[in-house]
Chain length 211, copies 2
């Protein structure tokens, strides 16, 4: 469609700009409230001094998330779509102008909480990360295959709550293996910090290959 | 827009059809995995013999939810949008033809898990119910005001997990009071059954006013 074509042009331009600056860029997607912002707060604190991080925060309304990120030590820019269910490449192009690109190693775009629309819009990222919280249920990859098929990594969050849920770990691992065998799977709790170290090591490797 | 106009025409036709059959019709929306299907399973069991329920199950892919509903004693029809992030009135018009309308008292449409798109599409319902799970965080009404402003009722689910979250009950009540003071608020756990009785009583009242 015309909308997707013009988005792709903007995404290509973003990708060139990010490449020129040696920036690793991650498009992070999930349902509302899966823990994207909390994971990024933990990530920023863990990688303080090692990896310089900028976050582009996407929400329909409110600046709550950008404020949380800024308090955790990373640079943050908030985008409010005022209605659109996803960020697009032109919004990211505008927002990234407000980040000190030459000083950063990594940009994470926290997309609007939505398991459908964001999958369709290339932002110029070099990796797509989906966060799935154990409280949502392990059937989400089967219900949203397009979203989960295009993930570079899947972070399963809130593992601290797993005994209060009927989340079937083996079923999730099998469904991801069938749908997207090359996706990296991380099991974390942004609350307790469990698994955050391994997730951060993966981010450091993404940064290293982009320098 | 043209899409919304043609949807509204179909919604008006649905509304007339439902009125003719004396059917109460609820459009249930939430993020993926907030507990819509589990709440409906509990509702069907609780109201067995009292209220005859049909469920129109909306998902992008998979028949998991319709199968679960059918096992709980309610009639179920599955719609797979194959991509659209929301149900529309024409999909509901087609699905409802597969339900024994003259025998039913209540139809619940479980919309696609999404806090954005479904708000825009009238399905011909007479009430809109949003499910919010405590694990998502209490900031969702601020971040998705259009969705929460148009709710007839808001069911806050998974209260059994509240001590493992930072969910602020008072903040949620205040934000709903500011945004949508006429919305009915229910606090439930579809897992333990807490609050399901009061929710079912409200449904019985909705059915009674439509007969
Ligand atoms: N128990 C538990 N709660 C968590 C964890 N991670 C996040 N939360 C809680 O989950 C809720 C949502 O977390 P956020 O980080 O705001 O989620 P989000 O994906 O950024 O949400 P949106 O940006 O609104 O889509 C908050 O109440 C967090 O405290 C976790 O690992 N364990
Ligand atoms: N602890 C707890 N878990 C719940 C509760 N209600 C639902 N769940 C769990 O939450 C997960 C999702 O529940 P569903 O009923 O499938 O949620 P849904 O909103 O229908 O999900 P989608 O249709 O995929 O958007 C499942 O693992 C349920 O067992 C509750 O009250 N407490
Ligand atoms: Mg967030
Ligand atoms: Mg469901």
């Amino acid at each position: 469609s015309k909308v997707l074509q013009s988005n792709e042009q903007a995404a290509v331009a973003n990708r060139e700009l990010f490449g020129k600056h040696g920036l690793a860029v991650i498009n992070m997607m999930s349902s509302p409230g899966s823990g994207k912002t909390t994971i990024l707060e933990q990530t920023a604190r863990t990688l303080q001094g090692e990896v310089k991080i900028g976050v582009i925060e996407g929400d329909i309304q409110s600046t709550l998330d950008a404020e949380r990120i800024a308090s955790s030590g990373a640079e943050a820019v908030q985008i409010n779509t005022e209605g659109a269910c996803h960020l697009d490449a032109s919004m990211v192009a505008a927002a990234v102008q407000e980040l000190p690109m030459s000083e950063l190693d990594l940009i994470v775009v926290e997309n609007v909480g939505n398991l459908v629309c964001p999958a369709e819009f290339d932002l110029g990222e070099d990796a797509r990360v989906i966060v799935l919280s154990v409280t949502e249920g392990n059937d989400k990859p089967l219900k949203y295959p397009v979203m989960f098929r295009q993930a570079t990594a899947i972070v399963v969050n809130k593992v601290d709550l797993i005994e209060h849920t009927d989340f079937d770990r083996a079923a999730l691992e099998q469904d991801i293996k069938d749908l997207n065998p090359r996706a990296q799977l991380f099991w974390v709790s942004a609350r307790t910090g469990e698994g955050i170290g391994e997730w951060c090591e993966w981010l450091k490797r993404r940064v290293a290959i982009r320098r």
